[in-house]
C-alpha cells in the first residue's frame, strides 16, 4: 500500500468500510473522513476503534458532532500531504460530488508517486453493474477530483448473500474495465464469512463489518 490511499466510488460501494479495514489492517497514522454526502455509517463513527489501533481520525471541524451533516472539513486533513512521514487513508463521500472535495488539496499534493487514488466498485450496485457504467463513473470521479484513478478495488460483497462466485463475478467485470482502461485491479475484499479457494486479482484482503451493527 502506498503512503496515502484515497478511496472514492459510487455511494454504497463500501468505501467507508474498506477505509476502516485498511486503516486497522495497516495501522496507518491517520484516517481522514471527508464524507460530506452521507449523514450515517461514516468512518468517523468508529473513532474509538480506530484510536485503539493508533489511528488518528480527522473529520469535521465540529469534532464528535455525529449528528451533523454540515460540510465542514478539518484542516488536519491536509497534514498527510504536507508531512511526508504520515501514512493515511482518505475516505471520500460518494459520487463525483463527494470526490470534488479533493480539489482543495490540488496545490499541496507534491508527492504524487506515493499516492493511490482507488475506486471501490461493487458490481451489485445498479450504477456500477457493467464495464461501461464503471468507466463512466471513473471519468466523472476524475473530472471532479482532478486526480487520475490509479487502481480498482473489487468489493462485490452482498452481506449474507456473498459467496466466492459473487466475488468472481465482480472480478470478471473489473477485468474488462482493466483491459479497456489500463487501470489495474489492486485489491479484492472478501467478507470474513466467505469460504474461498484460490486467489483473486490484486491483493486479497478480509473485510470485517465495522460500521454496521450486527443486526443490520
Amino acid at each position: 500500500m502506498k503512503r496515502i490511499t484515497i478511496l472514492t466510488g459510487h455511494y454504497g460501494s463500501g468505501k467507508s468500510e474498506i477505509a476502516v479495514n485498511l486503516a486497522v489492517q495497516e495501522h496507518t497514522d491517520m484516517l481522514v473522513d471527508l464524507d460530506i454526502i452521507n449523514p450515517y455509517f461514516r468512518s468517523r463513527s468508529v473513532r474509538a476503534l480506530l484510536e485503539s489501533h493508533g489511528v488518528e481520525v480527522a473529520e469535521s471541524t465540529l469534532e464528535n458532532a455525529a449528528g451533523s451533516d454540515l460540510p465542514f472539513i478539518s484542516p488536519k486533513g491536509s497534514r498527510p500531504f504536507v508531512s511526508r512521514d504520515l501514512r493515511a487513508v482518505y475516505d471520500l463521500g460518494g459520487t463525483k460530488h463527494g470526490a470534488k472535495i479533493m480539489m482543495q488539496y490540488r496545490d499541496i499534493i507534491k508527492d504524487p508517486d506515493n499516492i493511490d487514488f482507488l475506486v471501490v466498485i461493487n458490481i451489485n450496485r445498479m450504477e456500477t453493474d457493467s464495464a461501461e457504467k464503471i468507466i463512466h463513473v471513473i471519468e466523472d470521479l476524475e473530472a471532479t477530483s482532478q486526480l487520475r484513478v490509479t487502481g480498482l478495488i473489487n468489493n462485490a460483497n452482498m452481506l449474507e448473500y456473498t459467496d466466492e462466485q459473487t466475488i468472481r463475478d465482480g472480478e470478471a467485470v473489473l477485468k474488462d474495465v482493466e483491459a479497456k482502461t489500463g487501470i489495474p485491479i489492486v485489491m479484492t475484499f472478501v467478507e470474513t464469512h466467505v469460504k474461498t479457494t484460490g486467489s483473486f486479482a490484486g491483493e486479497t484482503r478480509p473485510l470485517t463489518r465495522y460500521l454496521a451493527e450486527h443486526w443490520l
Binding site: 455511494y11 454504497g12 449523514p39 450515517y40 449528528g67 451493527e213 450486527h214
Partner: protein, 356 residues
C-alpha cells in the same frame, strides 16, 4: 430481476417507479435526500414528472393537484417536513385523493436532529391535520419489506382513494441491503379513475370537482360517514403484523421497524438463557394490528413495548391490552437506537420472580 444491493432511500425511490408512480413532488431534507436525488435522474429517464418544489407546503399541494388529475403521485420527506405537509394530507383525505408519502423519520420535536427516530408515531397514526380522517400507514423492518410495501402502496392508495404513508426511521433509509425489486406482490383490480378532474368533461358529459369543502353540515356529516366506512374497511382488511417466537412465549416484545431488528438479537440471546420471549411486530401502524394481540397464547403474561420514542406506540398497546396483561415500556429517543442487551435487561426484569 436478481437481488441488487441498494440503500433504503434509493430502493424506495426505485420501488415507486416500479409501482407506477407518474409524478414526484418534494423538497430536500436529511435523512431522505437520496429519494429525490434518485428520482431526479430516473423519473425523467422513464418519461415521468419530477419537481423539486420551493417548499414542503408547495410540494404537497402539487401532489394534491396531480392526484386530482388522476396521476399516481409520490412525495417524500422527513419528520419536520412531514409536519409541514399535514394540512395538505388532511385536504387529500377530505377530497379522497390517493397519494403515497414516504416519511424517513428523524429525531424531534421541532427541527430535532438527523439521526434515526420513531418519534413520528403519533404524527403518522393520528395525523397532524384537522378533521376525522386516517392515513393508512406502514412501518416496515427490512428493505425487501419496504420496497414491496412502497410498490403495493400505490394500489392501496388508489383503491381507498386515500393517502398511504410508509414510515421508516432514518436507519432503514440509510442502510444497505440486497433487494429484489420484482418480488411478487399482491396486485389489486382497480377501476379507472372516473372521478379524476383531467380535462375530459366533454367526453364524460359532466364536470368532476375535487373539493374538501362541504358547507352544509348534513352534507359534510354524510361525507364524514362515507370516509368512516373506508377507514372501517381498512381496519378490517389492512392490519399487518408478524409474530416471532410467540407460540410458547411468556413475555412478548412489541416493536416495529429498526427496533424489531434489534429485538431479534435480544430474543436469540434470551432464548439461549431459557427465557421464553417473542416479538409482536406491527407492520401496519394505522390500523394498529389489534388482531395480532388476540393471537398471542395465554402463556404470555407480560408485554414490553420498545420504541425509538417515549411511549407513543405504547398508548396503542395499552388500549388493545385492556388491562389484561402486565405492561412495560422501554424507549430511546433523539436518534439513539436501543441496544440488544438494553432490551434484554428490560425483559429479564419481567421474568416472574426475578425482582420479587
Amino acid at each position: 430481476m436478481a437481488k441488487v444491493l441498494m440503500k433504503g432511500n434509493e430502493a424506495m425511490a426505485l420501488a415507486a417507479i416500479k409501482g407506477g408512480c407518474d409524478a414526484f413532488f418534494g423538497y430536500p431534507i436529511t435523512p431522505q435526500n437520496e429519494v429525490p436525488e434518485y428520482l431526479s435522474y430516473h423519473m425523467k429517464e422513464n418519461n415521468r414528472v419530477f419537481v423539486q418544489a420551493e417548499s414542503e407546503v408547495a410540494a404537497i399541494n402539487m401532489v394534491y393537484g396531480a392526484a386530482g388529475a388522476g396521476a399516481r403521485v409520490l412525495t417524500s420527506s422527513s419528520s419536520p417536513g412531514i409536519a409541514l405537509k399535514q394540512e395538505g394530507i388532511s385536504y387529500m383525505a377530505g377530497s379522497e385523493l390517493p397519494a403515497v408519502i414516504i416519511n424517513v423519520m428523524r429525531g424531534g420535536p421541532g427541527l430535532g436532529g438527523i439521526q434515526p427516530s420513531q418519534g413520528d408515531y403519533n404524527q403518522v397514526t393520528r395525523g397532524g391535520g384537522n378533521g376525522d380522517y386516517h392515513v393508512l400507514s406502514f412501518g416496515p423492518e427490512t428493505l425487501q419489506e419496504t420496497v414491496d410495501l412502497v410498490r403495493h402502496a400505490f394500489d392501496l392508495a388508489d383503491y381507498y382513494r386515500n393517502p398511504v404513508m410508509i414510515a421508516v426511521d432514518g436507519l432503514i433509509g440509510q442502510m444497505m441491503e440486497p433487494v429484489d425489486l420484482d418480488n411478487k406482490i399482491a396486485s389489486m383490480d382497480l377501476p379507472t379513475k372516473e372521478w379524476a378532474s383531467n380535462g375530459k368533461s366533454g367526453e364524460r358529459g359532466r364536470l368532476n370537482k375535487i373539493v374538501s369543502l362541504h358547507l352544509d353540515p348534513y352534507d359534510l356529516e354524510k361525507h364524514n360517514l362515507k370516509l368512516k366506512k373506508k377507514y372501517d374497511e381498512m381496519v378490517e382488511k389492512e392490519q399487518r403484523y408478524e409474530l416471532i417466537n410467540t407460540d410458547d412465549a411468556d413475555i412478548v416484545i412489541v416493536a416495529y421497524g429498526t427496533v424489531a431488528r434489534v429485538a431479534r438479537s435480544t430474543v436469540k440471546t434470551l432464548r439461549e438463557e431459557g427465557i421464553k420471549v417473542g416479538i409482536l411486530r406491527p407492520i401496519s401502524l394505522w390500523p394498529f394490528p389489534e388482531k395480532a394481540f388476540e393471537k398471542l397464547p395465554e402463556s404470555v403474561h407480560s408485554l414490553l413495548t420498545v420504541e425509538m420514542s417515549l411511549g407513543q406506540m405504547h398508548q396503542d398497546v395499552r388500549i388493545v391490552n385492556e388491562g389484561k396483561r402486565n405492561l412495560a415500556f422501554y424507549g430511546r429517543a433523539g436518534g439513539v437506537v436501543p441496544e440488544a442487551d438494553e432490551i434484554a435487561d428490560e425483559v429479564r426484569k419481567l421474568v416472574k420472580g426475578a425482582n420479587a
